[in-house]
């Protein structure tokens, strides 16, 4: 009787061990397969299609005033694209504001090309085959011209310092129905949502890894996604209202993350699941 009980216990423990091992194997293999999938994707990145389209647009006369982006100063002089993104966001005296790439392009469209503010903001994000966004193509082109260049975002101007401070605070702001802040998902090392790895954006290594790989071609959406989109979609999932394109909060958060990524080589447009 006694030995029978012991046998049962051994069998039960053995069964538990097999089930646990099987579950662990299933998960490891799923994570491995995702890593292989990502490696395979890197071979041919459709983001190049957006880069080429954006490059073509850059030189074209645009808007009611028929002015090209070659008059647009991204911080290194009118029309200078090479390396400009690695130093953004930054303070622009003509706008008297800190601007990220996308809000700077909006500024150039309104101030130089003669678009109304509403027209300039009409199509920030593409919708697959239904509608392509000019802005995402321009972003792809400009950011591709910083590939391999080290992030070097300055905090010289008081407004740059202010944006960085505010961005850090906003990163911790809890709200909405779910009490989520950016920190909920991006404040610790080695965490996942489902099987998706989450970067810890409060560390230099985490901010560098994440910031230098946006914008990215999103395979699941068939779209190139900008950093403004990344923030917009994070807040959607946080159950917040809609983040306004090029808003001060979006720029402050971008400043906080871009500055924290300083020193790392920019490596985008990338490709993600």
């Amino acid at each position: 009787m006694k030995s029978l009980t012991r046998l049962h216990v051994v069998c039960a423990l053995g069964a538990v061990a097999v089930v646990t091992a099987a579950a662990a194997w299933a998960q490891t293999s799923a994570v491995d397969e995702i890593a292989k999938y990502r490696a395979a994707l890197k071979d041919g990145n459709p983001a190049e299609l957006w880069e080429v389209r954006g490059q073509g647009m850059w030189a074209q006369p645009r808007g009611p005033k028929q002015v090209s982006f070659e008059k647009c100063d991204l911080g290194l002089g009118p029309g200078v694209v090479k390396g400009a993104y690695a130093q953004m966001p930054r303070y622009f005296a003509d706008a008297d504001r800190v601007l990220d790439l996308e809000s700077r392009l909006l500024w150039c469209m309104v101030a130089q090309q003669g678009y109304t503010d509403a027209d300039a903001r009409k199509s920030p994000f593409g919708a697959g085959n239904e509608r392509k966004s000019d802005m995402e193509a321009l972003v792809a082109y400009v950011t591709s011209e910083s590939r391999g260049i080290k992030m070097n975002v300055a905090l010289n101007h008081p407004k740059e310092q202010e944006a960085y401070r505010l961005g850090g605070k906003m990163f911790a702001f809890r709200g909405g129905t779910h009490d989520f802040s950016c920190l909920t998902c991006h404040g610790d090392d080695g965490k996942r949502i489902r099987l998706q790895d989450l970067p810890n954006l409060t560390t230099v290594a985490g901010a560098q890894l994440a910031y230098t790989t946006w914008p990215a071609y999103r395979v699941s959406q068939g779209e190139l996604r900008s950093f403004q989109w990344r923030l917009f979609d994070c807040f959607r999932q946080q159950r917040f209202p809609e983040l306004l394109y090029g808003s001060d909060a979006s720029i402050a958060l971008t400043m906080y993350l871009a500055r924290n990524a300083n020193g790392a080589a920019f490596d985008a447009p990338a490709i993600k699941r």
Partner: protein, 210 residues
């Protein structure tokens, strides 16, 4: 003598203005927080079911934001837990366990409350986003602890059932500034859905305990 007093006056003025400039360029933590909240309000717009009121913080959200990057003082943590515990709506019929099968569906469902979600559509707990639950589901997150064998390990008793219910209803009642949403308190899930999740954790027949 006359010259000397002028020098002293100029020095004093210099120090005073240096202090003023110093104050102007390094705002206090409270000032930055206030400014950040104001800038956020100008940077969003209502979209569908996600209204601007979602940026209005309650006391718990405000305190958890304030202490996000520093250690939460013990008295503040106790105050938050007390406040949240007092607001838990316990089941009127005294029953803790619903249907674990429905609990599994609630745990899998990620939709609900986003501006992109149909307001009439399903609202889930999305528990697998952060927790391991049933061993069959290998796609689980790690923001929260594994809940595998939850009831089996802790014991199938009323005290545990009540704890599971309260924790899902309002996580801040037990762990101030938890990463976990207050599913009942914030009207994300219904009382029945919370009970179904309690069953998923506490029913001996639930796959979580197999």
């Amino acid at each position: 003598m006359h010259t000397k007093s002028w020098i002293v006056a100029w020095l004093a003025a210099g120090i005073a203005s240096a202090v003023l400039i110093g104050c102007a360029t390094t705002p206090t933590d409270v000032e930055v927080s206030r400014q950040a909240a104001a800038v956020l309000k100008d940077s969003f717009k209502a979209n569908g079911q996600a209204g601007m009121d979602r940026l209005d913080q309650d006391e718990t959200q405000r305190l958890c934001t304030q202490y996000a990057n520093k250690a939460l003082p013990k008295d503040v943590a106790e105050m938050i837990e007390k406040l949240n515990l007092a607001s838990i709506k316990w089941p009127a019929d005294g029953k803790w366990l619903g249907d674990w099968k429905n609990g599994e569906r609630v745990a899998q469902e990620g939709r609900g409350k986003q501006f992109s979600d149909d307001p009439k559509g399903p609202v889930g707990g999305n528990c697998y986003a952060c927790h391991q639950l049933s061993p069959q589901e290998v796609s689980f997150g790690t923001i929260g602890p594994s809940l595998l064998a939850f009831g089996k390990v802790r014991g199938y008793n009323d005290e545990m059932r009540k704890y599971a219910y309260g924790k899902i209803w309002n996580a801040d009642a037990y762990n101030a500034c938890s990463n976990m949403p207050r599913f009942g308190h914030s009207q994300i899930l219904t009382e029945q859905q919370v009970k179904d999740l309690v069953a998923l954790l506490m029913d001996p027949d639930s796959p979580v305990n197999k």
